[in-house]
C-alpha cells in the first residue's frame, strides 16, 4: 500500500531530511513510525501525502507513483488518505460540525447526510457534544480528536497520523489508538508517527525507526506487560 524506494529528500546542500529510505507497508497493516524530533518522520509523512516530492527515489501509495501523478488528480488521491496533522489543521472560523461538513462537501456527500455522518465520527472520539463549538474553544486534546474524526469520516484506504496522541492523557491515548485499531480492522492501512515509546511497545505492531533521516530499525514490538492501571494499583504479577 505504501512503498518507498531509495527515497532521499534534500532541502538544500546542507540539509537532508531523508537518506536513501526504503520500506514497504502492505495493505491492512498497522505500523508505527518512530524516532527523535528531527529524525525525518514529518517529512516522510508529507511525502506520502505528496505535500512535497522526493529529491531522489520513488514513493508509491495505493499503486500510484506520486512523482508521475498529474496535478489534477492529486485532490482525488488525497481523499483516499485520512491525514491527522500534528498541528490539527482545523479551520478556526468553522464550528466542529462545519469542519467535518466541509470534508463531506469536498467528497460530494449530500448535505442531508452531513449531520448524521459528522455526529457518528464525533461519537467515535467521544466529542459528539462539541458539534457546535469552535476549535479555539476546545482543549488541545479535543482539537486532536476532532482532527482524528475528520480523518476517519470517510473510511479512508490509508490513515496517516503525525503524533496523534501528543496532546492526550494516557487514558485518551489508549482510546484513540483503539479507534485507529478499529479503522484498521475495517480495512484501512494505518501509519502512525509517534515518539511515545510506551505506546509503541504495548502495541505489538510493526515499528519503523528513523534516526537522522535513515531507517535504523524495523521490527515488530513485543508487548510489555505494564498496563498503566495495573502498575499504579500493583495488580497482577
Amino acid at each position: 500500500m505504501i512503498h518507498f524506494y531509495h527515497v532521499t529528500k534534500r532541502f538544500d546542500a546542507y540539509s537532508t531530511a531523508l537518506h536513501d529510505v526504503t520500506f514497504h507497508i502492505e495493505k491492512g497493516e498497522f505500523v508505527f513510525l518512530t524516532g527523535a524530533s528531527g529524525a525525518g518522520k514529518s517529512t516522510l509523512l508529507k511525502l506520502i501525502l505528496r505535500q512535497m516530492q522526493p529529491s531522489e527515489g520513488q514513493v508509491v501509495v495505493n499503486g500510484r507513483n506520486l512523482k508521475a501523478m498529474k496535478r489534477s488528480q492529486l485532490p482525488f488521491f488525497r481523499r483516499e488518505i485520512g491525514m491527522v496533522f500534528q498541528d490539527f489543521k482545523l479551520i478556526e472560523r468553522m464550528t466542529v460540525f462545519e469542519n467535518l461538513s466541509f470534508i463531506l462537501t469536498v467528497l460530494g456527500v449530500p448535505p442531508r447526510e452531513h449531520k448524521k455522518r459528522a455526529y457518528g465520527a464525533l461519537r467515535a472520539v467521544s466529542l459528539h457534544h462539541k458539534l457546535n463549538s469552535y476549535p479555539l474553544q476546545l482543549s488541545g486534546g479535543e482539537q486532536q480528536r476532532i482532527a482524528i474524526a475528520r480523518a476517519l469520516i470517510n473510511d479512508p484506504l490509508v490513515i496517516v497520523a503525525d503524533e496523534p496522541t501528543g496532546n492526550l492523557d494516557p487514558d485518551l491515548t489508549q482510546e484513540i489508538v483503539q479507534i485507529f485499531a478499529e479503522a484498521n480492522l475495517r480495512g484501512s492501512t494505518v501509519l502512525i508517527a509517534t515518539h511515545d515509546r510506551e505506546l509503541i511497545e504495548q502495541s505489538g505492531r510493526r515499528v519503523i525507526t528513523l534516526d537522522h533521516g535513515r531507517i535504523t530499525d524495523e521490527k515488530v514490538a513485543v508487548p510489555q506487560r505494564a498496563p498503566r492501571v495495573e502498575s499504579i494499583f500493583g495488580i497482577g504479577g
Binding site: L49, Q51, G63, R64, R71, S72, Q73, L74, P75, F76, F77, R78, R79, M83, F85, K89, L90, I91, R93, F102, I103, T105, V106, L107, G108, V109, P110, P111, R150
Partner: protein, 307 residues
C-alpha cells in the same frame, strides 16, 4: 483503480455562493471599494449610453421625413409671401407646405422653451421670422435636382434663408457616434481599473484565507472548489456594482426629467425622452459581472501553488 477527472460535487454551487457572500460580508470595506469602483465606471458608461440613446431616438423621429424651412425676410410684403407660396405650390416636391407666421413662431418658442419665454417678452418686437415648412421625402431632398430648385427658391424676393433639417440630423448622427465612442473609451478604461481593483480585493481575501486554502488542498479539495467562491465573489461584486450603477442612473434620469425638463421643453425634452432599453441595462449588468469575473480570475490564476 483510476482516479476521476477533476469535477465538482453536486452541492458545491450553493457552497460557492454562500462562501462568496460570507467572505464579502467579512471583508465589507474592501468589498465596498470594489463595488463602488464598478458602480462609478458603469454609471459613466450608462450616462453616455443614455445620452446617445436619446439622441438616437431624436434622429429616428426626424428620419422619416426631411423638413425644409424657408425663412422669410422680416419685412417681406404680403405680395412677396404670396409669390413664394405660388412658387411652392407650382413645384410638386414642395407642395406639402405650411405657413408659420411670426406670431405662430413666437408662440411655438414660448411653448417649447417655457423657461425663456420671459426673455422674449422683454423684447420690443417679435424676433422670429415667418416661414414656410415643407415636408419632403428624404430621397428627393438629397437629390441634385432638388438642390437646384432650392437655389432657385433662395433667389425669390422676400426669402431670407432656406434650411434643410437633414444637415443637423447628419451632424447629430456624428455626435451620437462620438458620444458612444467616448462612453466606450471612458467606461472601458474605468472598467479595466475596476477589474484590477476587484483583482486586488480578491488577492487580499485569498491572503486572508491562505491557511484555510492550504488545509482545503490537503484534505482533497480541487482547485475549482477552492477558487470557485473567489470567482463567484468577483462576479457578485461586479453584479452589485452594476446594479448600483443602474439604480443611480435611473435616479439621475428621473431627477433630471423632473427638475431639468419642464413639459414640452425642446432643449431638455429630447435628452430625457426615455430611459435605456432593457437590452442595454442587461448589457451593463453583464459588463459588471464580466469585469468582476476577470478581476477575480486574475487573482486566482496566480494562486495555483501546490500545497
Amino acid at each position: 483503480m483510476p482516479l476521476p477527472d477533476e469535477s465538482l460535487p453536486k452541492n458545491t454551487v450553493s457552497y460557492f455562493f454562500l462562501e462568496a457572500m460570507r467572505r464579502m460580508w467579512v471583508s465589507k470595506r474592501t468589498s465596498f471599494v470594489a463595488i463602488a469602483m464598478i458602480a462609478i465606471s458603469l454609471f459613466i458608461v450608462g450616462a453616455f449610453l443614455l445620452v446617445a440613446e436619446n439622441l438616437g431616438r431624436a434622429v429616428a423621429h426626424a428620419g422619416g421625413t426631411s423638413r425644409v424651412n424657408i425663412y422669410l425676410n422680416s419685412d417681406a410684403t404680403p405680395q412677396q409671401i404670396a409669390a413664394v407660396d405660388s412658387w411652392l405650390a407650382a413645384h410638386h416636391d414642395f407642395a406639402g407646405r405650411k405657413f408659420v407666421s411670426k406670431e405662430a413662431a413666437l408662440a411655438r418658442f414660448r411653448e417649447y422653451f417655457a423657461n425663456l419665454s420671459g426673455v422674449v417678452g422683454q423684447l420690443d418686437e417679435n424676433p422670429f421670422p415667418a416661414s414656410f415648412e415643407c415636408e419632403v421625402a428624404p430621397g428627393v431632398a438629397q437629390s441634385p435636382a432638388f438642390a437646384s430648385q432650392a437655389a432657385e427658391l433662395r433667389a425669390i424676393a422676400g426669402v431670407e434663408e432656406v434650411q434643410f433639417d437633414w444637415e443637423w440630423v447628419e451632424k447629430l448622427k456624428k455626435l451620437i457616434n462620438l458620444v458612444n465612442l467616448a462612453g466606450l473609451i471612458a467606461g472601458g478604461l474605468l472598467a479595466i481599473a475596476a477589474a484590477f481593483t476587484i483583482a486586488n480585493v480578491i488577492r487580499l481575501t485569498m491572503l486572508l484565507y491562505r491557511e484555510e486554502i492550504d488545509i482545503m488542498r490537503l484534505v482533497g479539495a480541487t482547485e475549482r472548489m477552492i477558487r470557485g467562491p473567489f470567482l463567484i465573489e468577483g462576479i457578485l461584486q461586479g453584479l452589485l456594482g452594476a446594479a448600483v450603477a443602474v439604480a443611480l442612473l435611473a435616479a439621475a434620469f428621473l431627477a433630471g426629467r423632473h427638475f431639468l425638463a419642464p413639459r414640452n421643453s425642446l432643449l431638455w425634452g429630447f435628452l430625457f425622452n426615455g430611459f435605456l432599453p432593457w437590452q442595454k441595462l442587461a448589457a451593463l449588468l453583464a459588463g459588471g459581472m464580466l469585469a468582476g469575473y476577470l478581476g477575480s480570475w486574475m487573482s486566482v490564476r496566480e494562486s495555483g501553488e501546490e500545497t
